[in-house]
C-alpha cells in the first residue's frame, strides 16, 4: 500500500505538487492523468523516494519512501519518463545491469527473468543489439522491461505507453491487469484518457492539485456532465420532436440532423424513451455519454473559476 499524505513540493517559486493526499491499495492500478507540467512526475519521484517533499510524506508500506532500505527498494520497479538506458550497451546488457542492481545475482535466475521480460515486451529479437541502433518503440519496450525485470511488487511507470503501437499497448494493458491480479500495485502516469479508464482508480492532476480521485465511473457520475443524443429526422417532423422533448432537454435541429443535450443520465434515458415512444421516424441515432475527457475539462474549468 502506498499513501501520500498532504505532500507539498515547490521548486523555488513554482509549486509543483500542492498538498496532495492519495492512497493506493495493494493490487490496484492507479492512473495519474493530467497535462504536461501538472506535477505527475514530481509526485511519482517523491513516491519512489528519490525526491524529498517540501512538506508531507509519501509512505510505502507505512515507511517514508526516502528511508527505504536497499532490500525494501528491491521490491519496487521504476520506469522513468526518459528512456534511461545505456545506449552503448546491448539490450541484454542493460537488462542484466538493472537485474543485478536489484540483487538478481544468480545467473540462471537472471537469465530466466530477462527471457520473461523480453518475451513480454516483445524485444527478444533485439536483445543482442546495442540500444543506440534500436527503434524508438523498441527502446520504450526495453525501458519497461528494465523496470519489471526483477519482478517487483510495486511498479511505478512514468508515461509507459508513449510511442507504443496501439496493438502493443493493448498487450501492455493485459499484462498490467495480470500483474494487478497477482497482487502487484501499479502507479502510472499518462495523458491518454482512454488508457486511464482501464485503471482501477484515477487521480486527475492539474497544476499540482488533485482535481478528482476515484474509479473512472465514480468521477464521471459525480459530475454534472452533459450527454447528447443525435439522429436524422424528416424536416417536417422537427417541430413535433422539439415539442415532445421541450420539458426534458433542449433540442437543436439543423437541416435533417437533431441533437438533444441531456444534463444527466436520467434525462438521457427519458429523452431516449420519449423519442422511441413518440413514433416520430428517426434514424441513425447516436448516443454520446460523457466520459473522462468531459470530466477532466469540467474539473479544470471549475478549478479555474
Amino acid at each position: 500500500m502506498i499513501r501520500v499524505e498532504d505532500v507539498y513540493k515547490e521548486f523555488g517559486e513554482v509549486i509543483a505538487v500542492d498538498h496532495v493526499t492519495l492512497e493506493v491499495p495493494k493490487g490496484t492500478i492507479l492512473g495519474m492523468i493530467g497535462p504536461n507540467g501538472a506535477g505527475k512526475t514530481t509526485l511519482v519521484r517523491m513516491m519512489v523516494g528519490i525526491l524529498l517533499p517540501t512538506s508531507g510524506t509519501c509512505f510505502v508500506e507505512e515507511k517514508p519512501s526516502y528511508l527505504l532500505t536497499p532490500e525494501e527498494r528491491s521490491h519496487m520497479g521504476y520506469m522513468t519518463q526518459q528512456k534511461a538506458l545505456y545506449p552503448d550497451l546491448t539490450a541484454r546488457e542493460n537488462l542484466e545491469f538493472f537485474a543485478q542492481s536489484y540483487g538478481i545475482n544468480d545467473p540462471r535466475v537472471q537469465e530466466e527473468l530477462i527471457a520473461h521480460a523480453a518475451k513480454l515486451t516483445q524485444i527478444v529479437d533485439s536483445l543482442n543489439r546495442p540500444v543506440e541502433v534500436l527503434s524508438g518503440g523498441t527502446i520504450q519496450r526495453l525501458s519497461l522491461a528494465c523496470a519489471i525485470v526483477h519482478n517487483p511488487d510495486i511498479i511505478f511507470l512514468d508515461e509507459p505507453t508513449v510511442g507504443v503501437s496501439p496493438e502493443l499497448r493493448v498487450e501492455f494493458w493485459d499484462y498490467f491487469h495480470k500483474l494487478s491480479r497477482e497482487g502487484k500495485t501499479i502507479i502510472m502516469t499518462t495523458h491518454y484518457l482512454d488508457e486511464a479508464s482501464r485503471c482501477d482508480a484515477i487521480a486527475m492532476i492539474f497544476q499540482g492539485k488533485i482535481l478528482a480521485h476515484g474509479t473512472p465511473e465514480e468521477i464521471i457520475s459525480s459530475l454534472p456532465l452533459e450527454s447528447t443524443i443525435s439522429g436524422i429526422i424528416e424536416p417536417d417532423e422537427s417541430l413535433q420532436l422539439t415539442n415532445v422533448l421541450r420539458s426534458i432537454a433542449p433540442t437543436e435541429v439543423k437541416g435533417k440532423r437533431f441533437t438533444v443535450t441531456a444534463a444527466s443520465d436520467d434525462d438521457l434515458l427519458k429523452t431516449f424513451e420519449t423519442i422511441v415512444t413518440s413514433k416520430i421516424a428517426v434514424s441513425n441515432i447516436v448516443v454520446r455519454q460523457a466520459g473522462l475527457e468531459e470530466a477532466f475539462t469540467h474539473l479544470v474549468r471549475r478549478s479555474q473559476q
Binding site: Y66, L67, P70
Partner: protein, 494 residues
C-alpha cells in the same frame, strides 16, 4: 538513508562501466593515446627563459687589510738604518739636503695599480754627499717596495723612478749609511671588495631576485626550504685570496630539481661573478659548484616527470568520470539507479573503483613514456603509487560532486580552466612556489596537486619515505573524503 554497502552491487557498477568503455572503441583509443601524446609533448616542452629566480646570497667578503703604501712604510720603519718622518707632499722637500737625505712619494693608485697588474711608478728624491750613500738609499727603498708587493700579491709590480742630487764638496763621512727619509704616503689602498661588486651587479640583473642571507647555513637552508632555487656564498677572504693569487672561495648552490630555474640562476651567477672580477681585477675566475640536491645533467623530464604523473592523473581522473557521470544523469540512468537498491555510496564507490582502474592504466602509460625519457626514475615511481591512488580517488569523487551540480558537458568542461590548468602552473610542478607573487602565494595550497608535487619531490629527490610525507598524504586523504562527502550529499534532491 541506508548506507549499507554491498560489494556485489558495487561490482555490478564497475563491470558495467568497463563494458561501456570497452564498447566505445574510439573513446577507449583516445583514452590510451591522449596521455601518451601529452606526456611526450611535455617531455619536449618548456625551454623558455626564466627571470627573477629566487637566489639566496650571502657576501661576507672583506677588503684588503692594508695598502702597499702602508706595507712599504712599515718595512722601512723596521729598517734600523732608516729614520722615517711622515710628511705631506707640501712640506716633504723642506729639509731635503739638510736633515733629510731622501724623499719617497707613494702615489694614491699604488695598491690599485698593482692589483690591476699595471706598472706603478714611485718616485724617490735623494740629496746626499756620496754616491755610495745614494745607491744604498735607492736599494733600500727598492727592496722595501718590491718586498711589499711580493708579500701582498706574490709578484713585483713597482717601478722605481729616482732623482738623485749630490751636494759637493762634502767628503764622505765614515761608513754610516743610515739616512732620514721624508715619506709621503698617499696610497689609498684597495678599499673595495669583489664581493660587493658582485652583489651590486647581481642586484642589477633581472634574471635573479636576491634573498639576502647572513651566513652560509642560511643560504643552504633557504634552498632546502625551497625559498630559493639557487644560492651563493662568498667567504670573508674572497677578495684577499683573489688578489694574492690564491684559490678564492666562492660557493654556488643549486636546487637541481627546479632545473630550468636553476640553470638560469647558475648561468646568471657565473656571468655576474666573471663580470665582477673583470671589473675589479681585469680577469675572471672559476667557482666551485655544489648541488644541494638533484644532480648535474638532470633534464626537465627527470625533474618534472614524477609531478607530471600527478597532473595527468588529476586531469584524466577528473574529466573522464565527470563527463561519464554527467551522461548517466542526463540519460536518466542515474535516476533509475537511485530508485534501485543501489545506495549513493555504492554508486560513488563503483565509479571510484572503475575510474581508478582507468587512471592506473593511464598512469602506467604515462610512466612508461617518462621512464623511456628518464630511466633513472625507475625506482621512485613505484613509491608514488599510494599518492597517485589518493589523488585519483579525490579527483574521481570531486568530478562526481561537480557533475551533480552541472547541467551539461560544456559546464563540466569549464572545470579545465578553473580547476585543472591552474594546478599545472600553481602546484610547484613547473616552477617553484617561491616564485609566485605574494598575492598568489596562498592559492596553490587549495589544490591537491600541490601536495602531491610536494610529496613526490621529497620521495624522488630527497630519498624521503612515505612516513616523511605523511602531511601531504593526510591532506590528499582529506581531499578524497571531501569528494566523497560532496558527491554523496547530493543524492536526495531537496
Amino acid at each position: 538513508m541506508n548506507k549499507r554497502v554491498d560489494s556485489r552491487r558495487i561490482n555490478t557498477i564497475v563491470r558495467r562501466i568497463f563494458k561501456q568503455i570497452r564498447r566505445d572503441q574510439r573513446t577507449l583509443g583516445l583514452m590510451i593515446i591522449a596521455p601518451i601524446v601529452v606526456t611526450v609533448l611535455f617531455a619536449f616542452m618548456f625551454t623558455g627563459t626564466v627571470s627573477s629566480v629566487p637566489t639566496a646570497v650571502c657576501v661576507q667578503d672583506e677588503p684588503l687589510e692594508s695598502s702597499v703604501g702602508a706595507t712599504v712604510t712599515s718595512l722601512l720603519e723596521e729598517n734600523e738604518n732608516v729614520t722615517v718622518s711622515h710628511k705631506l707632499l707640501a712640506n716633504a722637500f723642506d729639509e731635503l739636503g739638510s736633515s733629510i737625505q731622501a724623499v719617497l712619494l707613494l702615489p694614491p693608485n699604488l695598491t690599485r695599480g698593482i692589483v690591476l697588474g699595471e706598472n706603478v711608478t714611485i718616485t724617490t728624491f735623494v740629496n746626499v754627499t756620496s754616491e755610495l750613500q745614494a745607491n744604498y738609499i735607492l736599494a733600500t727603498i727598492a727592496n722595501a717596495t718590491s718586498e711589499a708587493s711580493i708579500e701582498m700579491f706574490g709578484r713585483r709590480g713597482i717601478q722605481l723612478d729616482h732623482n738623485v742630487t749630490f751636494d759637493f764638496p762634502l767628503p764622505p763621512i765614515g761608513t754610516d749609511l743610515s739616512f732620514n727619509l721624508s715619506l709621503v704616503d698617499e696610497d689609498v689602498g684597495f678599499p673595495e671588495t669583489i664581493g660587493a661588486v658582485f652583489e651590486d651587479l647581481l642586484s642589477e640583473n633581472g634574471n635573479v631576485s636576491i634573498i639576502t642571507c647572513t651566513n652560509r647555513e642560511t643560504v643552504i637552508d633557504s634552498l632546502m626550504n625551497e625559498v630559493a632555487v639557487a644560492g651563493v656564498y662568498i667567504s670573508p677572504g674572497f677578495t684577499q685570496a683573489t688578489l694574492r693569487g690564491e684559490e678564492p672561495s666562492i660557493e654556488l648552490f643549486i636546487n637541481g630539481i627546479e632545473s630550468t630555474e636553476a640553470a638560469a640562476a647558475l648561468a646568471t651567477l657565473q656571468e655576474v661573478l666573471s663580470e665582477a672580477l673583470t671589473q675589479s681585477l681585469g680577469r675572471g675566475t672559476e667557482a666551485d659548484l655544489t648541488y644541494i640536491y638533484g644532480e648535474a645533467g638532470m633534464s626537465m623530464i627527470d625533474l618534472v616527470g614524477p609531478s607530471m604523473i600527478g597532473f595527468l592523473s588529476v586531469f584524466f581522473s577528473f574529466l573522464i568520470p565527470g563527463i561519464f557521470f554527467l551522461r548517466e544523469r542526463q540519460q536518466g540512468t542515474l535516476e533509475r539507479m537511485h530508485a534501485s537498491p543501489l545506495t549513493d555510496i555504492e554508486i560513488v564507490f563503483g565509479y571510484v573503483i572503475a575510474f581508478i582502474g582507468v587512471s592506473l592504466i593511464q598512469t602506467a602509460l604515462v610512466s612508461f613514456v617518462i621512464l623511456y625519457f628518464s630511466p633513472r626514475l625507475f625506482s621512485s615511481i613505484l613509491l608514488m603509487l599510494p599518492l597517485v591512488l589518493l589523488l585519483a580517488t579525490g579527483s574521481v569523487t570531486l568530478a562526481i560532486a561537480v557533475s551533480y551540480r552541472m547541467k551539461n558537458e560544456l559546464q563540466v568542461m569549464q572545470m579545465i580552466p578553473l580547476f585543472i590548468i591552474p594546478q599545472m602552473f600553481l602546484s610547484g610542478l613547473l616552477f617553484p612556489l617561491s616564485m609566485l607573487p605574494p598575492y598568489l602565494a596562498a592559492l596553490p595550497y587549495i589544490f591537491p596537486l600541490t601536495y602531491f608535487v610536494m610529496a613526490v619531490k621529497a620521495l624522488v629527490f630527497f630519498q624521503a619515505t612515505l612516513l616523511d610525507v605523511s602531511i601531504p598524504m593526510v591532506v590528499l586523504s582529506i581531499y578524497c573524503l571531501l569528494g566523497i562527502v560532496l558527491s554523496v550529499a547530493k543524492r536526495i534532491e531537496r
